[in-house]
């Protein structure tokens, strides 16, 4: 290249660079709440991602239909990824103030959202006018999103955990598909038989990374009758006989029987990938775990069934319940809040519409008939209506979940500061699952110290 040519190239590059920067500026958000025509615009996150083709189409159809019914509201959907709330990303969005006007969060996120100063008190707006089914919504769920008498979010999903098992593997191992294990001792026996099938199949599989290990530890601890934090939420309360039993059970299965497979340090998607590939006999999870196995991990519905969470001797003392809701960003206009509530009411809380549009969901690769999302109080109008629709349109064999539904275990919520506590408890889980000589007492002691630290810091 001769010198003048080089200079020409550089000049072009420079001009191009300026052009780039200018376009970059113009793509920045236009956050006008109301445009010239007097329309109210709100941004909403947790739009399904491209991979979830049917869910995404349903969502977009719902937006179109909703905007037709409410011509003065514009919904801008934002997709934040495969998991709507991946804790570090969620924290980053809160810290960065980049949450959408109406944003998705777990029930456990209330404290963090309040700490960030991003949440709006919506007590005066949430009522029958904005959400027609509001009085049917389970009061306990509203309570989860209430702090100091003020409501900060609208619940849109609620679940409790049980034992998810693969019927095909149960049959091959000579186990009774209609009689899943009820105690951890029975789980251990069944796991032994299933893993004896060989071929890298794990009889029972468990998480130990990405906060999911701590999440499941909590559930296992509840089944023993324990709790993660003391009643006042100020101290760790798992370094005791019940906590030890949880880890001992896992250790026995992992190293005593070698029935949990070689792959550990699993997090959410890892376990479900294995499950989708038919390599997992049992794991604990919510009913919608089967949905993820099918829609995202290439598995089949008819293979999976669910029973109640096992207990140490007899039924589980409690099971972990959790859920999701939509928060409202501080500084919205009353019109925006009302518009947001209307949208949530339409998409999430109306039997026959949105997530409850079972007629639409029936032919799709999406389950109807799961005992979820349990949003409405028992006996309320909305609950009855939803149940009828669900039964009429079920596309999965409801018998698969009958045992789970028939054996209700008391539901217990997640601990305060849950995600941070879960991160600590991951280490205890990975400890027993990857080290044959793990010292359970030491693992629990370390975790206890760390959680206590964290609670002191957080107060």
């Amino acid at each position: 290249m001769s010198v003048p040519q080089y200079r020409k190239a550089a000049a072009i590059a420079l001009v191009a660079g300026l052009g780039l920067s200018l376009t970059a500026c113009s793509t920045k958000s236009d956050d006008a709440a109301k445009d010239a025509s007097g329309k109210v615009t709100i941004t909403v996150d947790c739009q399904p991602v491209g991979a979830q083709k049917e869910l995404l189409k349903n969502w977009n159809d719902d937006v179109a239909e909703f905007q037709k019914q409410n011509p003065n509201i514009v919904i801008k959907s934002v997709s934040v990824g495969e998991q709507c709330n991946n804790p570090p990303d969620f924290t980053a969005r809160l810290a960065g103030g980049t949450v959408t006007d109406v944003f998705y969060g777990y029930m456990t996120d209330l404290q963090q959202v309040l700490d960030s100063g991003q949440a709006m008190d919506i007590t005066e707006y949430a009522n029958k006018d904005t959400i027609p089914t509001w009085d049917s919504v389970d009061p306990a769920l509203k309570g989860v999103f209430t702090d100091g008498g003020k409501l900060y979010a609208v619940p849109v999903k609620n679940y409790s955990m049980g034992l998810v098992y693969n019927k095909v593997l149960f049959q091959r191992a000579g186990l009774d598909v209609n009689n899943p294990p009820k105690t951890w001792a029975e789980v251990r026996e069944a796991a032994k038989k299933i893993s004896a099938l060989g071929n890298g199949i794990a009889g029972y599989s468990e998480y130990s990374a990405g906060n999911t290990g701590g999440w499941h530890f909590t559930s296992l601890l509840y089944s023993q009758g324990g709790q993660v934090l003391t009643e006042d939420g100020k101290k760790a309360d798992f370094n005791n006989a019940m906590g030890k039993q949880v880890l001992q059970n896992l250790k026995d299965m992992r190293y005593g029987d070698n029935s949990m497979g070689a792959r550990q340090l699993l997090q959410w998607g890892d376990l479900l990938t294995n499950a989708g590939a038919g390599k997992v006999g049992m794991f604990i999870g919510a009913p919608d775990a089967t949905q993820a196995i099918v829609s995202q991990f290439q598995g089949k519905f008819q293979d999976w069934a669910m029973g109640p969470l096992p207990g140490q001797d007899g039924a589980a003392k409690a099971t972990l319940g959790g859920g999701e809701g939509y928060f409202f960003k501080k500084g919205l206009t009353p019109e925006q809040v009302k518009a947001g509530l209307k949208w949530i009411a339409y998409q999430k809380l109306t039997p026959g519409k949105g997530q409850f549009d079972y007629v639409r969901a029936k032919p799709q690769n999406y389950p109807v008939g799961l005992p979820q999302p349990l949003l409405f109080a028992n006996g309320s109008d909305a609950q009855k209506k939803e149940l009828e629709l669900r039964k009429a349109n079920a596309n999965v064999d409801t018998a698969n979940f009958a045992i789970f539904e028939a054996n209700q275990v008391p539901i217990k919520g997640e601990p305060r500061n849950a995600q941070a506590v879960y991160a600590v408890l991951d280490a205890a889980m990975s400890g027993v699952l990857t080290n044959p000589n793990a010292n359970i007492d030491a693992l629990l002691k370390t975790a206890e110290d760390k959680v206590n630290q964290l609670l002191v810091a957080g107060s």
Partner: protein, 295 residues
Amino acid sequence: MPQDSGTRTLISQAQLERGRGRIIYWTLLAVVVVGFTLVFIGPLYWMVTGALKSGQEIAQTPPSLFPKDPQPQNYVDAWHNLDLAKLLFNTFYYATGAVLFQLVLDTAAAYSLSKLRPVFGNAILGLMLATLMIPAMVLIVPQYVTVIDLPILHLNLLDSPFAIWLPLVANAFNIFLLKRFFDSIPEDLMAAAFVDGATPLRTLWSIILPMSRPILGVVSIFAVTAVWKDFLWPKLVMPSPETRTVSVGIYAFAGGTPMNVVIAASVIAAIPTVVIFLIFQRNIMSGLTTGSLKG
């Protein structure tokens, strides 16, 4: 400039051509060529074929060398589900901008520090070089807080490409390389230009820059590599799926996807860069080897 052959290196040409030396040379060459091929191409082969396997086949013991029942659908899924086109576009867009910003601003600064030597120039240079030893991780939290709310301007740069471009300009290593190179350009040339009445900008443009192509090439390569390799910073400042880079996008996607599809996405993501690299490898290699990175 020493060329590839003909220069004396550690072992003399003569020694390599003599009996025993020759045998050792050819054996070693063969071992290295085969070994390196296995070590560096082997995993890539495994990647391309692994992405064609079914979930069951991947979990099988021992692993199979060829996919028994190839599933090209994994590649199709990866392309569509991940919106790879968008991710790749973002990454190249950020890389291009990073190169331009660094070339313009860092070159200007290095030129000023080297040739114009304004007052406090050395103090400023010292402050810049002091950051050389500070890994990005040390500053990640305050930097992040700064990008969210820029001092004085109170702008939020999240999801804006400037959040990637501007911090990269603050690269002391570039300033160091460029200044070192400019230092080696004789002062007499500058004096001559001044006598001719050339402005500093004109001198930079017509005298300095044409002589500095190799080093500008090196700075560009480093700028592209930095964007390509960075992970945590783009993960933090580009939180929306529409603005993610390839690396961050694949990671975010991996959480909820079977691994054969994740690997398929990785293969597709690597193709454009590998192709660009193979096309320009001569320039890149000679740029890196001649660009003043000398002992």
